[in-house]
């Protein structure tokens, strides 16, 4: 394993852990954006430039910003004192997550010997991605476009609702 991989994955996992454990919601949002950035670096290490930059553009540029906006709009940053940030049934949730990780980890380690350790760098340019999107994957592309339009309109309607009632 390369040093860069170890460093970046440690950073990613630390960001993820911090996002789940920290008390202050804005800190959680910032920590999760560290995890997103780490994942983008991992994509770059996997020779998926386009996906890595798209990850930064979408997750850090849009999703993280949306999350902090939502936190400020719901006054989530100022959580009530003395109350736990974890749900009442946190033991069960933790147990399920641990079990899932145990099963996944066990499966990966069992099959590690058969997994490829090395592969030739794929020669994929942005041009190829564009051609693939316009030929083989054109239907999913159109569906995603429809979905995004629907989400845009839906978000606007959800946000507009209260305003009409206030009148």
């Amino acid at each position: 394993m390369s040093i860069a991989f170890v460093l970046v994955s440690a950073l990613t996992i630390a960001g993820g852990l911090a996002a789940v454990l920290l008390k202050n919601l804005v800190h959680c949002a910032l920590a999760v954006s560290v995890a997103f950035a780490g994942l983008a670096f991992l994509f770059l290490q996997l020779d998926a430039q386009f996906a890595g930059f798209a990850q930064i553009l979408v997750y850090i540029g849009a999703v993280a910003i949306l999350v902090v906006f939502a936190i400020l709009l719901t006054r989530g940053a100022e959580s009530p004192k003395g109350e736990s940030v974890f749900s009442r049934a946190w033991q069960a949730g933790l147990a399920i997550a641990a079990a899932v990780f145990a099963v996944l980890g066990w499966a990966i380690l069992q099959g590690a010997a058969e997994l490829p350790a090395n592969a030739a760098t794929p020669q994929v340019t942005v041009n190829d991605i564009g051609h693939a999107l316009m030929s083989r994957y054109v239907l999913p592309l159109e569906i995603v476009a429809l979905l995004l339009t629907a989400a845009l309109i839906g978000a606007v309607i959800v946000a507009m609702h209260e305003k009409e009632r206030a009148k």
Binding site: F5, T12, V20, A54, T74, F86, V100, L104, A119, A151
Partner: protein, 104 residues
């Protein structure tokens, strides 16, 4: 030194478990959404890793799956957070333990 596929898969599994734990244990609805985003991202890492180490990377299957998944996750975040804000306006709380009535 190249990193073997198993390394990426382990990182993705750990991240998925962290996201799942967050989604299941946190009280705040926004944190639940963050947990879900982490899980989606872990899945993306798996898809890209399998694409990279797979026999036909030029077919771009896993790569495209990840790209579409990023787009869908963005839509999901927008709608999900819009709903959380709306629930907050309505019920004055974002605690998922307290949002337990179907009746407005």
């Amino acid at each position: 030194m190249a990193t073997p596929l198993a390394g990426y898969l382990l990182v993705a599994a750990l991240l998925f478990a962290i996201g799942l734990a967050g989604a299941l244990t946190r009280r705040n609805a926004i944190l639940v959404l963050i947990g879900i985003e982490l899980m989606l991202n872990a899945a993306n890492l798996n898809l890209i890793a399998f694409w990279r180490f797979g026999p036909h990377p030029e077919a771009l299957t896993g790569f495209m799956f990840a790209i579409f998944s990023i787009a869908v996750a963005a839509a999901e975040a927008a709608v999900g957070l819009g709903l959380v804000v709306q629930i907050h306006r309505h019920a004055r709380t974002t605690n998922v333990d307290e949002i337990n009535r179907m009746k407005g």
